[in-house]
Amino acid sequence: MESLFLVIATLCYLIGAAGYFIYLLKEREVLPRIAWTFLLAGALFHGAALVMHAVVAGHFPLTSIREAISVFAWIFVVTYLVIQEKLQLRILGSFVSPLAVIFMISSRLLPTRAILANRAFKSGWLIAHVTSIFLANALFAVLFSLGIMYLLQERGIKKKNFGLLYERLPSLERLDSIARVCLMSGFPLMTAGLITGFVYASMIWRSPWNWDPKEVMSVVTWLIYAVLVHERLAVGWRGRRAAWLAILGFSAIVLTFVLTSLLFAGHHSVISGKIYG
């Protein structure tokens, strides 16, 4: 039942992404509405699958990297659906929905081995840590999409060479102001995620800092966003540079998430999961 729901959810996301992709090429009012509905349906099936999994396992479905990405994909889609409802910026879907498909499919392909012992997921600190980090990452994923849209549009206007997307993409200032909101709400969440992470780490390993590669990468990522926030607030950084930094930041997140989980040793990773598990 659960895996059937996950397959249905994946298909829904795929159809949604395809709908948004066609919308990118053809301006038809129905397309984004259909695509949005499919994404919503996918999120419902996906959510139901996660709940079922949690009920069966008796804890948060976060014991493997597959589960973790699956949860993240769900949070990401829900975040997008909410943003879409608030902003009515339909074209954003064309850039965001492919990411949802990528996250979803990669969660199906990644290993299922446990990272952490089941008992760890009873702690409120860990749940707070994971939730805020995932929400922050979802917002930063949207920020990444906005950055790409901004760079495409800015390039066209700057080079005076308007491509197909010139008409379809919104104004630079709109993209920039949405990006600002995403950044300003994502950054405190990320900070909170890091702090709860340190608190939790100090509770389990007696030290908040253990030179775990994921810890190091997370702090580097946080620093990238911190620079972005600071520059925006202090000197009014915006536009192209802010977009590039947002893209860099999200790349760091992906790197942190995937590479450190798969390759490096540490208490966040799959390999070390055996030790701690």
């Binding site: 700057k158 000197v235 009014g236 915006r238």
Partner: protein
Amino acid sequence: MSHIILLGMNHKTAPVEIREQLALACQKEVNPLHMLPHLQQVEELIFLSTCNRVEFLFTCGAVAEAISEVKALLRTHVGLPSSIPLDSYLYVHKDMEAVKHLFMVASSLDSMVVGEPQILGQLKGAYRAAVEYRTVKMILNRLMHKSFSVAKRVRTETCIGSCAVSVSYAAVELARKIFGQINDKRVLLIGAGEMAELAAEHFLRQGVKSMTVANRTLERAVELAARFKAQTAPFDLLLEEMKKTDIVVSSTGAREPIITYRDVRARMRERRNKPLFFIDIAVPRDIDPKVNEIDNVYVYDIDDLQGVIEFNREERLNQARTAEHIINEETIKFRTWMESLDVAPTIVSVREKAERIRQNELRKTFSQLPDLTGRQKEAIEILSASIIKKLLHDPIMFLKKKAQRDTRAVYMDFTLRLFNLTEGIDEVDPAQVESEKALDETFLKAAKK
């Protein structure tokens, strides 16, 4: 025969300082048309002054003398110091060259921004003034009306006009792509020019928050500010003004860029990197193209804007060629009319018409009376020929007598109309005649006041 001379300077030949001084002096002082009675050699006179051109259009008998009189009028009446060498800035077109130039001006092909629509209105204004001062007579009257209809033809048969309108439309659309909403944005208008004003008007109509005008001459700035409900800013403090501005429309006649890379770069930090959109309508350019390299700064010159519009270069060139063809055609028509005003061709065409009628009538008569003998036919031919000769004798003598008078063109024109000889010279369409009548009536009313 009268010559048509056009003497003037425009944005291509004179630096902006000279043109501004001239245009301003001409506006403030009594209209130079006032001086016509003092000009011995000049018969008819029209004076056109816009921000990009100052032109005198006149007719005369003795060309060289009239030109020096008009130049003297320029210098003394306008109060231009003799230290300024005028000749190098002036162009002088004679006869058909002058006609062609006027047609080019009227159809906005000689404008800084080809196709801008205001020049026609300015030309009509100049004509209205000339009617009020009664300085136009038959030739310039006809020429001006002709130039209006040529402009109309160019506008309807090519898309040169829509090009210019869509340039300012494109500017607003681009601003929307950069800023999204433009109703909280401030526009700075630097310099003045028909196209810049058009763009400014467009921005204003789209509801920008405020507009500021900076111009080298304060009078002009004040005038524009009143029109656009804008504030004025000192020209020297332009760069300071830029800190508060989002959109800059620039169209000065400066030879060198007035806004450089360093100027803008230094001020972006103070602007907190808010986007800045430059629309550079001036030729040569006011904004250093390098400014476009600065982050969050977008510079579009007139070519870029025209590139935005669908027309490609080839298409625009074709349009310009079509327009030029129309103008050449109309110039030739006008020349035919001018030439017909001379005595000899008038007499010839009167005689030709009479002979044509006589031949036609003879043919009809002979075909109805097949019994006529050779001698009878000959008698009828001689009879008809002598009737025509005698009938035309007095009118032709009259025309020959007028040949030495200045007013002969009026008589020639009248004769052509009397005998309906204008066929093939220049058809005037009835609608135009009506509209011209209305125009003339308003002028006459204005003149009476």
